[in-house]
């Protein structure tokens, strides 16, 4: 195994977690009061971890760049959260959720971690209901479920199209309770600029107060990173504007391995790009695929006429439409996993069937669903011979009740009414499965440095299923990390407070100050956004939905060049010792310019297609992904060695003892 010890406990899969919990070291309550833990990032994973750690008795310091933990981007998750509750009695179980997640991840995730995730998923729902999270309910007063892509059961709990918001506010409330008790010190508008190691252990961070520009030292016995994903690498994505890789990247540079950086999720249903000014893309929840049918015109000339505005989609007859997902994947139809749906959309658009001005959009049509619901409603309301108009009206009401906020959001952005004309959608970067490598305890390769939620790599393999991100964030934060970290902290009960005047802190602070100065001293040719947009274009065109060796190599070179140009010529106005949003952005983009290169290098190394990583050289004659299990059933964990190009690959072999590794088929 070398240095990569995943520390997966022995024993049967179903007992691993329970046995592990029974045998890890605990810290007694009196000693917990003497132990400090830093949590960076306060979204679902960080917020729930901070609340639970504080509740257990540790002294917790939280850091987030937002003005309040309530604004973390977990809030934007729309569709729902999976849990193997089997409330619908449709044959769901912990094993099935585990199986679906491993299969959905295209057999590139760690079996034991995924099983644990499925196992604790049920607790999450119990926990959240107890906290007052208002999940959707049926008329009988019990919790409602819906289905998501890549599965054949209904196990997704939801709160309209705002599930992430409700779960995050639950975690935020739990945090608030501990803040009020004095067990959490919350530092908002603060950004972690470096990790401080003392004797090889993570012992603190250097943070910048984003309001005053002050550089601060904070020490602790352990540091938890829950800073989310790095999809903003692509400039245009469904991420929030501030999302960044800084904390994770700084940890990487201090010795934490970065795993599977090229595993990125491109979500199939986002609102298409409208112009060069675009700053971000908006997701339309996957739950829409429960009822929406995806299509493009069958004939090229129709597609052309639509693009030129000569033809309306509603004028196109049923037989002239190509419901390509239903055609290609009859078993799962419109509910195939995200990577499959995204590639299929790209394939159609590349072939010339795209339906908006730029030719990069497909239709998501609710007409059939509106009529189906309408007829059902008419019948149950005793209207036997309702005319089409009435049926449509009834149907629209039902669709509005289900997806009203999403439809409203679409209409505000695109200025078209999706009840009357099909939505236009196109894939966009949405999530990163890759992240800091962690063992079963969620510890990175730096002792005392932990990573939770999207920030780590552990559970989703090469593709994440819908409604699993919320599940993982809360599982890590509420139920896994607070216990596994005790095993490490039990050795620290006699350590005492970590001083912040040590040479290690001095050095880290000096390094941070030098870097800020360097960013401020660019010769001033271009703005930060200029570089970010350029990087995004390279990433999207050469490391996006489909990749090939030639373009990946080009990307590596271009990014390295762009990085050099950035450090030479970036213009950051203002000063470093005051509020300065351009400086904040500059620091983040500087990190992306390094990670981008590692990303391309990772993609170039992985000579196979799996999940979200599609290499054009490796596909079946029908254009499906061609995995290479013999040579690539491993996690790529990269060790930092100065420049991204010098990064060293370590492999964690993935062993499947409880699941038969098969070709993933959704046909």
């Amino acid at each position: 195994m070398g240095i990569l010890d995943s520390k997966v406990p022995s024993g049967p899969l179903a007992d691993k977690w329970t046995n592990h919990k029974n045998h890890i070291e605990l810290v007694n309550p009196a000693n917990k009061r003497n132990i400090d833990v830093i949590v960076v990032g306060t979204g679902l994973a960080g917020g729930s971890a901070a609340a639970t750690l504080a509740e257990l008795g540790y002294n917790v310091k939280t850091f987030c760049y937002q003005d309040s933990p309530r604004r973390a981007h977990s809030i934007a998750a729309q569709g729902g959260i999976n849990a193997a509750k089997n409330y619908q009695g449709d044959g769901d179980s912990v094993y099935r959720l585990f199986y679906d997640t491993v299969k959905g991840g295209d057999y590139r995730s760690r079996e034991a971690n995924v099983y644990r995730l499925a196992e604790v998923s049920t607790n999450i729902i119990d926990q959240c209901v107890a906290q007052g999270v208002p999940f959707a309910r049926e008329y009988g007063g019990l919790l409602d479920n819906r289905s998501f892509g890549g599965v054949l059961v209904s196990r997704t709990f939801y709160a309209k199209g705002q599930t992430g918001q409700q779960l995050l506010l639950g975690a935020y409330a739990a945090m608030n309770r501990q803040i009020q008790r004095g067990k959490i010190q919350s530092h908002t508008r603060h950004e972690m600029l470096d990790l401080v190691l003392v004797d090889g252990k993570a012992r603190g961070i250097i943070a910048r107060n984003l309001v005053t520009g002050e550089i601060e030292r904070h020490s602790a016995h352990a540091v938890v990173l829950a800073t989310g994903g790095y999809g903003n690498l692509f400039f245009l994505s469904t991420y929030c504007m501030g999302a960044n890789v800084m904390a994770a990247w700084k940890a990487h540079k201090k010795g934490a391995f970065f795993a599977n950086p090229c595993f990125t999720q491109i979500h199939p249903t986002c609102i298409p790009v409208s112009g060069d000014h675009q700053s971000k893309l908006t997701l339309m929840s996957e739950s829409l695929r429960n009822d929406g049918r995806i299509w493009v015109p069958k004939r090229l000339e129709d597609a052309k006429a639509i693009r030129e505005g000569k033809l309306k989609p509603t004028q196109l007859k049923e037989e002239d439409r190509d419901y390509y997902l239903e055609r290609r994947y009859p078993a799962f139809g419109n509910l195939v996993p995200r990577d499959v749906a995204s590639r299929a959309a790209k394939e159609r658009c590349d072939a010339g069937y795209g339906v908006n001005k730029t030719g990069e959009a497909v239709y998501l049509d609710f007409d059939a669903a509106i009529m189906r619901y309408g007829r059902e409603k008419a019948l149950t309301s005793g209207m036997k011979d309702a005319d089409d108009k009435t049926v449509r009206k009834l149907g629209e009401e039902i669709v509005e009740a289900k997806y009203g906020n999403l439809f409203q959001m679409y209409e505000k952005i695109v200025d078209q009414n999706p009840y009357k004309t099909p939505m236009m959608i196109y894939p966009a970067v949405h999530y990163t499965m890759g992240g800091l490598w962690v063992d079963y305890n969620l510890q990175t390769t730096i002792p005392g440095c932990y990573a939770a939620g999207e920030c780590n790599f552990s559970d989703h393999g090469a593709n994440r299923l819908g409604a699993s991100a919320l599940m993982q964030g809360l599982a890590d934060g509420y139920f896994v990390l607070p216990y596994t970290i005790g095993d490490y902290l039990s050795n620290d009960i006699r350590t005492g407070k970590i001083p912040t005047d040590s040479p290690e802190f001095d050095q880290a602070e000096t390094h941070v100050r030098e870097r800020l100065e360097k960013l401020m001293s660019g010769k001033g040719e271009h703005s930060v956004d200029y570089y970010h947009k350029k990087l995004g274009k390279i990433m999207w065109n050469k490391c996006g939905m489909s990749r090939n060796a030639k373009e990946l190599q080009e990307a590596i070179d271009e990014i390295a060049e762009l990085r050099a140009d950035f450090w030479e010529n970036v213009r950051v106005p203002g000063t470093a010792d005051s509020k300065n949003q351009e400086l904040e952005k500059a620091g983040r983009v500087a990190d992306f310019l390094e990670l981008g290169e590692l990303f391309a290098k990772d993609a170039l190394t992985r000579n196979e297609s799996c999940g979200g990583h599609f290499r054009e050289e490796y596909q079946t004659p029908e254009g499906e992904a061609l995995r290479d299990d013999e040579n690539f059933t491993f996690v790529s964990a990269w060790e930092y060695k100065g420049e991204p190009k010098d990064a060293v690959l370590h492999k964690e072999e993935l062993v499947y003892e409880n699941i038969e590794v098969k070709t993933r088929s959704y046909k």
């Binding site: 309040s68 107890a130 112009g275």
Partner: protein, 248 residues
Amino acid sequence: MKLHLKIWRQKDANSKGQMVDYPLNGVEEDMSFLEMLDVLNEQLISKGEEPIEFDHDCREGICGTCSLMINGRAHGPDTRITVCQLHMRSFNDGDEIVIEPWRAKAFPVIKDLIVDRTAFDRIQQAGGYISVNTSGNPVDANAIPIEKDVADQAFNAATCIGCGACVAACKNASAMLFTSAKVSQFALLPQGQVEATERVQNMVRQMDLEGFGNCTNTGACEVECPKGISLENIARMNREYLNAAVKA
């Protein structure tokens, strides 16, 4: 289109601010309002000036970070949206647009258009939670059925994004809609009723301490709230508070 922008500039909390004029050309209808400001900022940077700082993050109307008073209205002329969802098609060529930060004593300006809304966090910390331990809750989620209608009402109250538009739009800078939304969510749900008496008193006490104004039921908050949080929540909070006062 061409716009005449008048924007509040203020160096930091202790400096005096003023309105500054910025003409802007080449604005497209499909741009969001914040993308329009991005364009202006790019121009300012290229001229060597400091860009205008404004709060924003998710740019899809859910995080509650963006907060601009546009032509005298919180989140601009359109309703049921945040500034990041406002598009330039709501304006016309040649328009003058006045952009100011939220104004309230409890929301001091940090820089330019950015204000400090931590008062809202402190109100939540005073009682905006249910005191259950997060570690291992043994009660099954379906053990307490909740009437769909009640659950939906609680959800509607819970959709508040904490942006502060209610305070900004209210002529009294009152935070009643914000505070009442959380009080309502928990007052409606059986899980929240155990602590209801204490919760409403503590949250209202904190709201007053922060220096927000008194509610005079003008209803401006409800109109400007991007999530359509209803005034009904304020009535419910008043009711809860009176009940608590009677009990105490």
